[in-house]
């Protein structure tokens, strides 16, 4: 990782989460996340991208302590999360690492004014504040996320706000807890195109002026490029490629990244041909055997890919790919 000198805000080491599926007669294990090691630095937006079912939301839930890891460890500011035993420690962690959800229409309680969520979070996580201080803090974070005039917006009900405004409430709730890292799970995918950019700009502003890091989970590579510093591409529960966002997108090393890139509709570019040749879909990883999980769709697959699971290798500074074929110097073009 590039930030080797300083301890990242959060990092994971070979994080895995498996789910048991099937009945007593056919026990199977779904590998939702396998051996994921990632790091999120100070004041950094890291985009976690991949298709549905690639395990990106599972990672968010693991980091939010909604799921317990099957194996592996999460370190927050150097402290392993498995060492957090007391309710107080857990509360402190969830305040420092809050989550913003995908659906702004179902993540706010419709019977309460929008001030309710923020005030509740403050009461729980910052009990030292008086009622007036809580209100002042709620107004402050509403101003920061662009919900102005804050005093008035705080009194509204969720149904009186547009989707974009509701999602800003989500960010305000997170921000009120003085977070170090916000876990944003597809925060803009339910919003209209004309509204999205405003939220993406807000994320950049939170990083630059409030100094928070953000894990931005998305399936939209163009928006990842717009806001993120680093980009992690997931495939079938594993990291396929990770690196500085411009490096990964300009010089994708993993064939899967190349496939994804070729499929992004871009009116300003000529039609890519890569995705036309590929009709596969990401596999459900049930009781996997060793080998690269992309091998059935990969035009470059060699014998080794069918036998050995590729480990992420650093090919360029801070830019790694889990692929046996990818080389640092040579251009491998599976899809273009």
């Amino acid at each position: 990782m590039t930030e080797a000198s300083t301890e990242p805000v959060l990092r994971t080491e070979r994080l895995s989460r498996h789910f048991k599926i099937g009945n007593a007669l056919s026990r199977q294990v779904l590998h939702a996340v396998d051996d994921v090691s990632l790091a999120i630095g100070e004041r950094q937006i890291v985009a976690l991208a991949g298709e549905s079912g690639s395990g990106k939301s599972t990672i968010a839930r693991l980091l939010a302590k909604i799921y317990k890891p099957t194996s592996g460890e999460i370190y927050f500011q150097g402290t392993p999360l498995s060492s957090l035993r007391s309710r107080r420690d857990t509360l402190r962690y969830t305040g420092l690492v809050p989550m913003v959800f995908q659906d702004p229409f179902s993540s706010l309680n419709p019977v309460f004014r929008v001030s309710h969520g923020v005030m509740r979070g403050l009461k729980l996580h910052r009990p030292e504040l008086s009622r007036e201080q809580r209100y002042a803090e709620a107004a402050r974070v509403f101003e920061v996320v662009g919900l102005t005039p804050a005093a008035e917006v705080l009194q509204r009900f969720p149904h009186e706000l547009s989707g974009g405004q509701r999602q800003r409430v989500g960010f305000a709730q997170a921000l009120a807890l003085r977070p170090k890292l916000i876990l944003a799970d597809e925060p803009v995918s339910m919003l209209d195109v004309s509204i999205r950019i405003g939220l993406l700009n807000l994320m950049v502003r939170l990083r630059d002026s409030e100094g928070v890091s953000i894990l931005y989970i998305t399936h939209d590579l163009a928006s990842a490029r717009y806001v993120a510093d680093r980009l992690i591409i997931m495939y079938a529960g594993q990291i396929a490629e990770a690196g500085p966002v411009e490096d990964v997108l300009a010089n994708p090393k993993h064939p899967y990244t190349q496939l994804l890139l070729s499929a992004v509709p871009d009116p300003r570019a000529p039609l890519g041909v890569g995705a036309e040749t590929d009709r596969g879909e990401p596999p459900k990883v049930i009781d996997p055997t060793p080998g690269c999980r992309f091998r059935w769709r990969c035009p470059l697959a060699i014998d080794e890919c069918h036998r050995v699971t590729p480990e992420p290798r650093e090919l360029l500074p801070g830019h790694s790919a889990a692929c046996h074929v990818a080389r640092a110097d040579a251009v491998t073009e599976a899809f273009r």
Binding site: S194, L259, A263, A275, E276
Partner: protein
């Protein structure tokens, strides 16, 4: 459902004579309103366009802009409280507005089919794919078992699915395969017009692109026309001939897709183009469009986009603009009021170059 009052033709409305007998579909001044307790909400406001054989029109807009209502109105699928309050939909020269269910049933699926947004909800979960195909064919008088099986297998192969899946149930297929089988089902009778409502929105980019390519290939082979509704305008950029941008129930801009992308005329279209971050080229800060679409129960007095428009002029706020013809494109904006006339020129409007 038998005949529903809402579908009855407005009384004085005479069947307009189609100007161009070659057009598969002609939508003239179509308006749809929702009757609410508090009054009516006009969700589709005087929309006109026409579609030639084998043509592909993309209809884009934000949620609530009336694009799905328009599509339902074209397919005569509206149910109360929505009703067509004016205009006509001529399919192959015949006005569909006011036809009875029996008359519509003969046309539906055979000549005109619809692919819905969510295949998971549109397919029957307790029937195999093959049984659902057979249903549709029997409803149109295909009785022979061989014929049904043969055609079902054929259309599945056309969309790249192994015919063994005729025995599969919807939940056994992946999202992409379900959408493909919906499209296969729409192809059973090689219709002349296929209407698609965001068929790819539940799919990932890779599956989305391959489905778009597939639709385009089928269209090339069988020559049907396509109406493709989406909120993602970059998706249709390489596939549609005409592009219609809707805003608050009205046509903001309509023209050849490439022309609209290369030089958007309406400030809303331009704003939408600016709202997409690009995957290539320089990383530019974008602004999007401030504000949000108007409440259609209380639309602005003037231009519906005026409250969000960066180029707003005093007159925009007082009276709504007409559609103006600008180099073969239609634009509803006062910016073009002086130089261009609101009268349609004689040549074919909005046809692809």
């Amino acid at each position: 459902m038998s005949s529903v009052p809402a579908r009855q033709k407005p009384s004085e409305q005479a069947d307009p004579v189609p100007a161009d007998p070659g057009a598969v579909l002609e939508v003239n001044d179509l308006s749809v309103e929702y009757i609410m307790e508090t009054g009516s909400v006009v969700a589709v406001d005087h929309v006109s366009f026409e579609l030639g054989p084998g043509e592909f029109i993309g209809i884009v807009g934000e949620s609530g802009c009336g694009k799905s209502t328009l599509l339902f109105a074209i397919a005569q699928l509206l149910a109360p409280p929505a009703r067509i309050s004016g205009g006509s939909v001529c399919f192959r020269g015949r006005n569909m507005v006011g036809l009875t269910e029996t008359e519509l049933a003969a046309v539906r699926w055979k000549d005109l089919s619809v692919v819905m947004q969510s295949a998971m909800n549109a397919l029957n979960p307790v029937k195999s794919i093959g049984a659902q195909f057979a249903d549709a064919m029997r409803a149109h008088g295909v009785r022979s078992k061989e014929q049904i099986e043969g055609r079902s297998a054929e259309v599945l192969r056309m969309v790249g699915i192994d015919p063994v899946h005729l025995k599969s149930y919807p939940h056994q297929l992946s999202g992409g395969m379900r959408q493909r089988s919906m499209i296969a089902m729409a192809m059973l009778f090689t219709p002349e017009l296929v209407i698609m409502d965001e068929p790819t929105s539940a799919l990932d980019v890779v599956a989305q692109r391959s489905l778009m390519v597939q639709i385009k290939e089928l269209q090339r082979d069988f020559g049907f026309a396509v109406i493709f509704v989406t909120h993602d305008m970059s998706l249709v950029s390489h596939f549609s001939d005409q592009l219609m941008v809707m805003y608050a129930g009205q046509v903001a801009e309509l023209g050849a897709t490439r022309a609209v992308f290369d030089s958007p005329l309406h400030p809303y279209t331009a704003g939408l183009m600016e709202a997409f971050p690009s995957i290539r080229g320089p990383r530019l800060p974008l602004t999007g469009i401030p504000g949000s679409p108007p409440d259609l129960a209380r639309p602005p007095h003037g231009c519906r986009f005026a409250p969000r428009c960066p180029k707003v002029m005093p007159r925009c706020e007082t009276a709504p603009p007409d559609e103006y013809w600008v180099d073969g494109r239609r634009v509803r904006c006062y910016l073009y009021a002086e130089a261009y006339s609101p009268q349609a020129p004689n040549e074919e409007p909005g046809s692809p170059p």
